[in-house]
């Protein structure tokens, strides 16, 4: 039962990364442009994101609901001891969501520069702190017995390791966004431009990824001892090589564009899967001891009810979601 729920949790986090993450990435790419973004590029981001972004971000709510109903101690501990990065994420979510929708609907205004600025900055800010949160949950700095402000509320996340997981998240999401957008772009110059940025982002991923490992003693050994994580790493490298080859030597036909995007999504999926497999079954790592998902799980009838609700919910949502993507994304996917 716990495993079935974790499967749903992993799946909703993965979809959040693949769909919502690309939206965050689009904002980060805009930040890289520093306001020198062309009209075409602007329109592309808008067209790609507008119909689907709200649905994309609800995967996070699904994940939160699974955690707070199914694994309540995990939720309350994160909300209490990691409240600072969590508040930063929330601030980012609110700011970027509002800025994005207002940029579109207030297009007559000359304030769209301001909206774009808020959208770009808060996308990066939010992604960074999402990464920090993910890093802090398993870094091993959580200390519920601490009474001073610093050890209880700062040191669990205010460290190099978490900072690098934050940077890594930014690189990962902008990589994904650049790949998706290069696939949706119709103008060749834009396609190539996004490919170039995907390449820069992937360099960022490698550097930040190495730093994540370097700043967490024991992570490397754990990683090597987990066959699944190793194979994920191997596959991700393979996909990256394939991407590089496609960009370098292949013409951007429709099918190539489709496969490059699929490969980008594959890289992100491998990163997520690798991450799950390294941390599993720990939900939270404390200064002393570990809280596993098995220990944190709510009583059985609760888990059952949650699982049924998830299955019913997914059965309703998936067809609707497919229809949504079919209307707005089919022509670009083909």
């Amino acid at each position: 039962m716990v495993l079935a729920l974790l499967l749903f949790l992993a799946l909703s986090l993965l979809l959040y990364a693949l769909l919502g993450g690309a939206d965050f990435g689009a904002g980060i790419l805009e930040l890289g442009r520093m306001g020198r973004m062309g009209k075409q590029e602007h329109a592309l981001v808008q067209r790609a994101m507008a119909p689907v972004w709200e649905a994309n971000h609800i995967w996070l709510i699904v994940a939160v609901v699974i955690v707070f109903m199914g694994f309540p101690p995990v939720y309350t501990t994160v909300c209490t001891f990691l409240f600072i990065p969590l508040m930063c994420v929330l601030l980012g979510i609110v700011a970027r969501g509002c800025a994005f929708v207002l940029r579109y609907y207030d297009a007559a205004a000359d304030h769209s520069g301001l909206y774009s600025g808020i959208f770009a900055v808060s996308s990066a800010f939010c992604t960074f702190f999402l990464g920090v949160l993910a890093g802090a949950m398993t870094f091993g700095g959580l200390d519920p017995s601490a009474t001073e402000f610093g050890p209880a509320y700062l040191s669990p996340w205010l460290n190099l390791h978490c900072a690098f997981t934050g940077v890594f998240a930014c690189a990962l999401f902008s990589f994904l966004a650049a790949l998706y957008l290069s696939g949706e772009a119709e103008v060749k110059a834009l396609q190539e431009d996004f490919q170039r940025r995907a390449a820069y982002a992937s360099i960022g991923m490698v550097v930040a990824g190495a730093a994540v490992f370097a700043t967490q003693p024991g992570l490397v050994t754990k990683f090597i001892e987990t066959p699944l994580a190793l194979s994920c790493f191997f596959l991700a490298t393979l996909l990256m090589a394939q991407l590089w080859y496609a960009f370098r030597y292949m013409k951007a036909t429709r099918s190539v564009r489709f496969w490059t995007r699929a490969a980008g999504a594959g890289v992100v999926a491998m990163v997520m899967l690798g991450w799950y497999s390294v941390v599993f079954p720990a939900a939270l790592v404390f200064r002393e001891g570990v809280l596993t998902y098995y220990e944190a799980a709510a009583p059985l009838p609760v888990l059952k009810a949650l699982l049924i609700a998830l299955i019913v919910g997914i059965a309703v949502i998936i067809p609707a979601l497919i229809y949504l993507f079919k209307i707005f994304k089919w022509e670009v996917l083909e």
Binding site: V52, I61, F68, P72, Y75, L86, C98, V302, L306
Partner: protein, 438 residues
């Protein structure tokens, strides 16, 4: 400011803000669909313009509501970890289902907003209906969780160690249904009157017939809701009197248990002395309202230990405000319905009155939530867990209160600004089409 008070204020601020968006998300799609249906039937382009204009409003408010709702889903844990520890497993189910309904709403709104020329009109109209229906469904689920706090069910408490958890029984708690219906109707009331008032004002200012059409649609929804609401309110009051007599007594500032209890109108209660000054009492009516019998006994606050009293002044005032504005809307709504039924044009005076009514429904709704929430104090889970016991141990709650306050204030300013621009754009379009066919 005390730690607990800061946390309560932050929650009140966030919920008070979110509730406005939630109501708009619930009711506005139905107004929009009414206009859309009229367009599909009559092919009158003004209805299409109106539908489009309202759709933009829905999009903006939905997006802001969605992000503020995401923030709320974390805020429960950020402020009340002691509550979520118990409540998470027990009332997680309605939240999970709410998540699903909300998801469906987000998908449908994507189709509705961007699918004008991409899907057939019937499918398009239906996607709008899904937006509205899933909005109402989400509200039902969320309110079920709130109902559970008033009427805990589906577990054995065991001195703070809940066992025998039955999430379905918790979801279908006694308070759930009436509370949900009361709130849903309130949403239609508030949104209907606010929209009618806005368009009445624009009509008086600019004279475009589109605005008059808008007034009629919005007022119809708002007025019907206002006529139904007092009946549901009465049932709710009876339910509260039976289930949470302290809350009922605080709503009425009723200190002494008595038979033939009088209904208090106005009045300033003093918790220390247990007396009320400047009120008007209608003899016997409170007994009748509470139990349907003029001679029945109504429990007063003094029956209960002092530390279990809700704040009487706030609860009583909020209740009076809610009922007062509700009655006002009932009156104005009935007047509007009568005029529409007779096929008469609205008088200038009536349109002016509608403009005045813009905030009334929302004031009543917010006051109603103050009654529910403040009236349940000092408990977060009625009779089981005190609010003070569940507040977060983390420091600096007042800092985040201040931060959230600023954020919401900023959002309000931006929204007002953007809506005003939307109206300007609409008027430009209207002026253009007026030039086109003089």
């Amino acid at each position: 400011m005390s730690h607990l008070l800061a946390a309560r204020l932050q929650m009140a601020l966030s919920l008070g803000f979110h509730i406005v968006f939630a109501s708009i998300g619930m009711a506005m799609p139905f107004l929009m669909l009414t206009a859309y249906r009229k367009y599909l039937k009559t092919q009158d382009p003004e209805y299409k313009q109106l539908t489009r204009a309202w759709t933009k409003g829905v999009a903006i408010f939905f997006a802001v509501g969605a992000v503020s709702g995401t923030a709320l889903s974390f805020e429960l844990g950020l402020l009340w970890p002691g509550f979520m520890k118990y409540a998470g497993p027990i009332v997680g189910l309605p939240f999970a289902l709410e998540g699903a309904a909300f998801f469906l709403e987000a998908i449908a709104i994507g189709i509705f907003l961007y699918g004008w020329d991409k899907v057939p009109p019937r499918v398009h109209w239906a996607s709008g209906l899904v937006v509205g229906l899933s909005g109402v469904t989400s509200a039902f689920f969320v309110i079920s969780a709130n109902g559970w706090m008033n009427s805990p069910a589906g577990f054995d408490w065991n001195g703070g160690n809940p066992t025998n958890i039955d999430p379905v029984a918790a979801m279908l708690n006694d308070a759930f249904f009436l509370q949900a219906v009361h709130m849903t109707v309130a949403a239609f009331q508030a949104v209907g009157f606010a929209v009618a008032g806005m368009h009445a004002w624009l009509y008086k200012k600019r004279g475009y017939s589109l605005h008059l059409k808008a007034v009629k649609i919005a007022l119809l929804w708002g007025a019907v809701a206002s006529v139904v609401q007092p009946l549901i309110g009465d049932l709710s009051a009876k339910a509260v009197a039976g289930r949470q007599p302290e809350k009922f007594a605080a709503m009425e500032a009723h200190f002494e248990t008595e038979t033939h209890a009088g209904l208090l109108i106005g009045g300033i209660p003093d918790e220390e002395t247990g007396e009320v000054s400047f009120g008007l009492r209608l003899p016997g009516l409170l007994s009748f309202l509470a139990h349907g019998d003029f001679s029945s006994a109504v429990k007063g606050l003094k029956e209960f230990p002092r530390e279990d009293w809700p704040p009487v002044l706030v609860t009583h005032f909020a209740f009076q405000i809610m009922v007062g504005f509700g009655m006002l809307l009932l009156l104005i709504g009935s007047l509007g319905l009568w005029q529409m039924w007779r096929g008469k044009a609205f008088s200038a005076g009536f349109l002016k009155t509608l403009v005045l009514c813009i905030p009334f429904g929302f004031i009543a709704m917010e006051a109603g939530w103050v009654v529910t929430e403040v009236g349940r104090q000092p408990w977060i889970i009625y009779k089981l867990l005190r609010t003070a016991e569940s507040v977060t141990p983390r420091p600096a709650v007042w800092v985040t209160l201040f931060g959230y306050g600023l954020l919401y204030l900023f959002l309000c300013v931006v929204l007002v600004f953007v809506m005003q621009r939307q109206i300007k754009t609409l008027h430009k379009q209207l002026a253009k089409s007026a030039e086109g066919n003089p």
